[in-house]
Amino acid sequence: MTTKKVALLTTNFFHPTNERIIMGGAERYQVDLCRLLRELGFYVEVWQIGSGWTREFDGVRIRSIPVSRSEYHTFPDLSTAFYENSMAFDYAIYFILTLAYPIAREKSIAISHGIFWDWPGFDLMAGRLEERQEWLRRLGIALTGPQKLISVDTNTINFFNATLPGFYHKWEYIPNYVDTDLFHPPEEEKNSTDTIRVLFPRRLVPVRGINETMRAAEKLTARYPWIEFHFCGRGHDDNAERLMSQWIATQERCFYYWKPLEMMPEVYRQADIVIIPSRSTEGTSLAALEAMASGRPVIAGLAGGLSDIVLHGYNGYLIKPTVENLVAAIEDLARDKAKRQIMGQRAREVAMTFNRKIWAERWARVLETVFR
């Protein structure tokens, strides 16, 4: 039997003009999915926007298509060029839902990584009624083409079933995943209760609650000499990282850095409380799952699929991430060691059901039904 070929279409894995690549959640998902496809015996290539270059990453060829026009949050030129030029491939994966508009390969699957249109800026861009209608109309067409639609959370599926009904049978819920062997609690929990470390393992962007967290850190470090805040993540540009470094220099017991993926298990193990205070544009956050697998209670924002993984008061807290709510939730956990421990244990248990092996099996089943 000859090897079947899969083309995966995305927008920006590499930045279209330079080599900069930041391994965020979506990029890691893509690398892991490509690895899974190769393990299952497929040949995989990634296609994205760019000037026509070809590169390689993690043993996968990445080709670029020299188009960039986007309208109504769709990329009609990219999708059409991909359709016309990928005939040598047997199957396709649309890594972003809207890439399946206006035309999709017959044997194809589209993925939603969570709702991104719940941030206020989206309303500014697509607030006018006719624009919103056009965007929705195009989404409807994007859902029609692929044979299966994968969602990382139930939030997205519920939204679509209520807004663009009729695709119920196409949706598959495959939540995000965590390597529970790699991310595990420390062999021995540290005994000293001297310092409580609060970890913010996110990029420095407003929708992730960075500004609320900075304010909460100012209040709590002033109130308790034994509390520390660790901000671990990249900014979207150099300026954000510079401003963060400058702010950190004015703060007591606040730290800013980022680490390669290989160091993150250790970073989680050294934290006592992990906060994921997203306001919007969230799926089933990899960072939240990794924190949970490391046996850490998670304080999560009420957004996207975080409610699929955090039960308020059981394995963490699910809050509207205002400064006041953050301060109260962090304070509550920081002062109660027993609560941190029990919630941390439960978090680990819950994370086991999001094990990466389960994710791979679910994906394999979907691939079996479509890629044949």
């Binding site: 080599e19 391994m23 680490k259 993926l261």
Partner: protein, 233 residues
């Protein structure tokens, strides 16, 4: 642990930072290949006092005539040590101290064949770095200093004699991981060196091809025009 070979070009470094630099490097590199560009001081002796150093000496200086040729020679000696990773640092550059603990993670990861860092130019002293104009380390971006050796990649340098870069061109196009480890550069830390360095820089680039004229002139700015930030460990 993967084998790391560092490579370095030196010339008359005996009264500068060489010994400190080599001492720091013993903490995280396995071998260090040094090409001495015809030093006239005790530089070779200092190098040889470190057992991990492989020293190659030139009789006539080449750096100011054809840096690319010199770099190419150094690369040739370096890959002969059969390294898995190659670190390109100068004798006045220091990875911050926590690198000892964190470098192993960077070397063991297999997503990225290259690691880039931010360079901080300490100015007139060792505990403050410069942040005005093009000196701003937060805004001028990352450069690749550490690469996984890949014998199949072309080892050519660009066809220019100066500002030719430390690594072969092909290695500078690799997808790289931007590390938050900072590099402390002491090249400008001694006020006595600054004028001579300015003159050398301008004589190498009289038509301002590589950097704008204003940037070179800013080297000689009075203290009140220069903006500094404190280095926090």
């Amino acid at each position: 642990m993967p084998k790391v070979t560092a490579m370095m070009i030196v010339r008359n470094e005996a009264n500068r930072y060489l010994e400190r630099c080599l001492k720091a490097l013993t903490n995280y590199v396995d071998e260090l290949v040094i090409l001495d560009d015809a030093s006239t001081d005790a530089t070779p002796e200092i190098c040889l006092s470190f057992p991990m150093v492989k020293l190659y000496c030139r009789d006539t200086p080449l750096f100011l005539k054809d840096e690319a040729q010199l770099r190419h020679e150094l690369w040739h000696y370096t890959v002969a040590t059969n390294p898995e990773w190659i670190l390109a640092l100068d004798a006045d550059e220091f990875l911050e101290t926590r690198a000892v603990r964190e470098l192993p993670y960077l070397l063991k990861q297999d997503f990225f064949p290259a690691i880039s860092f931010r360079l901080f130019d300490c100015w007139g002293r060792e505990d403050y770095y410069r942040v005005d104009g093009l000196w701003n380390p937060w805004l001028r971006g990352f450069s690749i200093y550490l690469v996984k050796y890949q014998p199949w990649l072309d080892a050519a340098w660009p066809l220019q004699k100066f500002h030719c870069g430390r690594l072969p061109l092909a290695y500078r196009h690799l997808p790289h991981l931007e590390s938050d480890l900072r590099i402390k550069h002491l090249g400008w830390a001694n006020p006595a060196d600054i004028r001579a360095k300015y003159e050398r820089a301008v004589s190498q680039d009289p038509t301002f091809k590589y950097m704008p004229r204003e940037h070179y002139e800013s080297i000689l700015w009075p203290a009140d025009k220069i903006k500094l930030e404190k280095w926090q460990d």
